[in-house]
Amino acid sequence: MKQEKLHCRLVSLVIGLGMALFATLCFAEEAPAPPAGSEPAKVEAPAPPAATPPAAATPEPKPDPGGIVTGDRSNVFNAAGDPFVISEPTDKSDPDYAKKRKEFEEFQAQAAKEPLTLRLADAVGRVRIATNFTWTLATGYLVLFMQAGFALLTCGLVRKKNAAHLMMLNFAAYVFAFLAYYVCGYAFQFGAVAVNAAPGNLGGTPTLNQFLLGSGGWGFLGGRGFFLSGPAYDVGSNALTLFEVVFMETAGYIIVGAICERITFWGFILCELFIGALVYPIFGCWVWGGGWLSQLGATMNFAHGYVDFAGSTVVHAVGGFTAMALAVILGPRIGKYGADGKPRPFPAHNIAFVVIGTFILLFGWMGFNPGSTLGSSDLRISVIAVNTNLAAVAASATAMIFWYFMFGKPDISMACNGMLAGLVAITAPCAFVSPNSAVIIGILAGIVVCLGVLFNERIIKVDDPCGAIAVHGYAGWLGAVSVGIFADGTFGAGWNGVGATTYLGKAGLGVTGLLYGDTSQFWMQLGGATLCAIYAFGFTYLVFSLVNVVRPLRVDKEVELEGLDIPEFGMLAYPEDALSGVPR
């Protein structure tokens, strides 16, 4: 009884703190913003008169919660990415200044002659943004569905006596991590995205423009949009929010696979709040929120800065190494290692769940990777989709063959782990590599996951029931590094603000890897991915070792032996009808 009171107190403390934060932050954020619709949407003439005050006096951008301003002529581009609106050049020291000035003046003269064209361009820009919203939201829904895949996969991989526990963890992961991301995770990650990494495909979210820690190219933490209010109460920002929250959820449920069958429910809730509020958003800010790691190209001349297209590290390695730290703290399940120190298996109780879950994850990944363009106006989406599938099948084939040779039979659960490792590894490079490279990355991922599972189980003896550490941690690290090896320069010109016009002396060259002549990108990737692993493991280990001292995260021995379903949740996943004790 006393123990129960303790967890109740802990959980209510966390909720109470959240509420207090809400009261202070949320309303402070709600700057008096007149509804965007109350003023005329745009001025008809494109350019401000020459007497306009300098940029310093630009008014603070206003959010557009009604969706009636976002998307105009400034969002119109041709296939090469050249804008329809030619803006006034300001940098007089630019050698091309005179040429740009002339282009600008010609545009002005033409615009004055053809006002109808400008109105048409406004409509075209609106349609482009709307198309991209549709793409981003729809692919976000696909990523959301991965939650179901993960629940089936992990539930199928554990013992029958813990099946309800697994389902509840997956379910609660979504719920609690989402709330944490709403409170501060999104603001930490994307609160300054407009400074260096404005998502132009969604209209640029200009209101998310302030770092909480750092500034310019050295941002460490975003600072706008707490409680998704004020600057984040905007249609463009919310399209981004929906897409990004389901990404965070992916990191959130990765940990389930490594800590299940022995973690208490209250301990798990703390883990999820920690992921949604801190460990995920911080690294996410560094790479996707315009933070320092992504800007090392612009600030320190390190290639394109750290590049992770859809999250091999930002999502998967963060989840995988957080999971590893937690698994180390929890220790192996009772009976996992015999008296001789040899690992003993706890076979999957429902392999059909495992395979169906894996296929749902593959399907969801068609949102995860192609959706990360944040817009279907980026036609690279088809290449990304094909690359993603190729790596998945190559990795799965590798894992099957590896096991066939090593142990005489292909292991079904390892075939599934192999496919997931391929997906994880192609997530960072999917946009930058050719189909052949995708196959090679898949093969490498298949080998890494097989060796990783054996290494965890036999050498370092970290008990990982579902292989989450090898699949998401090790293969995630591999994915980010392989950007630095296999990127072929066909995509990503101007990525992270580097090489918009020429890169390595070539016009239009994108992110380029070791094999295509950019060694610095390789070192950048190697360093960034390794930093991610150390950061996620170290931060989590520090925080949860302390929590574990205050109160053990692990269930009692008797509970673990009985199975967590009844002691933790009061019900079995598969009650025997006649003998369950429930009145019939």
Partner: protein, 112 residues
Amino acid sequence: MKMVEAIVKPFKLDEIKDALTKVGIQGMTVGEVRGFGRQKGHTELYRGAEYSVDFLPKVKIQILVPDEKAAQVVEAIVQGARTGKIGDGKIFVAPVEEVIRIRTGERGADAI
């Protein structure tokens, strides 16, 4: 009356049932059971770690028969269940003291 109990390979159940229907039995009870005999279990690999399956899945059949039919029923089971390989199972025959049909209260041979 005799109780004939047979522990057999699960995939032979259909053949046994057909053989028993041919000799005209009135009913049977079957259940899935596990166990081992002289063969013991065997080892399997899961994710590269070895584990032993000590209790192999079998099917247990129970048939209640009049004394004179017992030999015929045993023969039918042997016919249906035999593969000639290790693990074909065993048959036990034991006397039964009393039988009661719950619906009518009939006893003895009438209740079979």
